[in-house]
Amino acid sequence: MKCRSCRGPAVIELRRHNAGFCGECFLRHCREQVRKAIEEFAMIAEGERVLVAVSGGKDSLALWDLLLDLGYEVDGLYLGLGIGDYSDESHRYARAFAEQRGVRLVEIDLPADVGFDIPTGSARARRVPCSACGLSKRHLFNTAAVDGGYDVVATGHNLDDEAAVLFGNVLRWSTDYLGRQLPVLPATNGFVRKVKPLVRLGERETAAWCVLRGIDYIVEECPMAAGNKHLGYKEALNAIEEQSPGSKHAFYFGFLTRASHLFRPQAHAEQEGLHPCVSCGAPTTGDRCAFCKLVARATAP
């Protein structure tokens, strides 16, 4: 197979683009896709400080690398989840990247700084581990960004992630979530702007970016995620994609252009009902935010 751009030998085939790319042209393709997403959705303005949520996995490290490569001022934030060897290893990859690039990695340790780890805390709180993990990340990333004076939190959600979440939300017609499923969530009172610059790249592309750039990342799957619904949705979508390349892109971007606006009024109404949590001050619709409730249950004697 030949590279679509330079006709040299290809190292990766992207069937949804009906193209192969050599290493150099593939890296340029990735930069172009991220630049296009940032511009199209007005994710990051010139001079803004960005905090990237870094897990030690391929997506977040690729995102950090890409944003640095594109010239943005970006620090990383690693959240230690206390998931045994998996967390220790992912932490090593995040630190190694920061040291190699000479960039700043902010670190928060859930067990040491908040008082619980995901496996035991989620069990005590009677929540699915991925739910407790996602809630903790959303809260602590936002708090760290507000405290650190960052303008934007960037996450490594890619096209596969967004298509899988959309698939799940449509299966259950979760209209409140559909109204908020956007590549950019604007800053509101107490929330910094959240952006997903990888929405135009699939996870094969973010993994290939890391391989070609020599970035080591944790390949092993989180042990808490095994068998979760999100993975099942991804497998289902990849089965469709194999038969019909481009389906995931058409599904997600078709939603954004043709249907997303239909669900936004409900999300706006929810935003308007936000007020500070009586415990931590973070925006919430109730008296106490969901994270403070989780902490109370997860750390109860």
Binding site: G134, V165, E221, N238, A239, E241
Partner: protein
């Protein structure tokens, strides 16, 4: 050739020569869900794998949400 698989990590010995897409079919893996790396180089589906190659079939699906 030696083929490294992940999640769970394991190694297989497979006779070559064979194309990457044939290897993936034999392993019943969706080509949208993996990268194939020979040595330290990515390879496309039409690449011919030979006896003596070190091949990694790396999954790219991650479950975080």
């Amino acid at each position: 050739m030696r083929v490294l698989l992940r999640n769970p990590r394991r190694e297989l010995e497979i006779d070559g020569p064979l194309r990457v897409h044939t290897l993936l079919e034999r392993l019943q893996l969706n080509r949208e869900s993996v990268l194939v790396i020979r040595g330290d180089t990515l390879v496309t589906g039409d690449a011919l794998l030979e006896d003596g190659d070190d091949v990694e079939v790396r999954p790219v699906i991650s479950g975080g949400c």
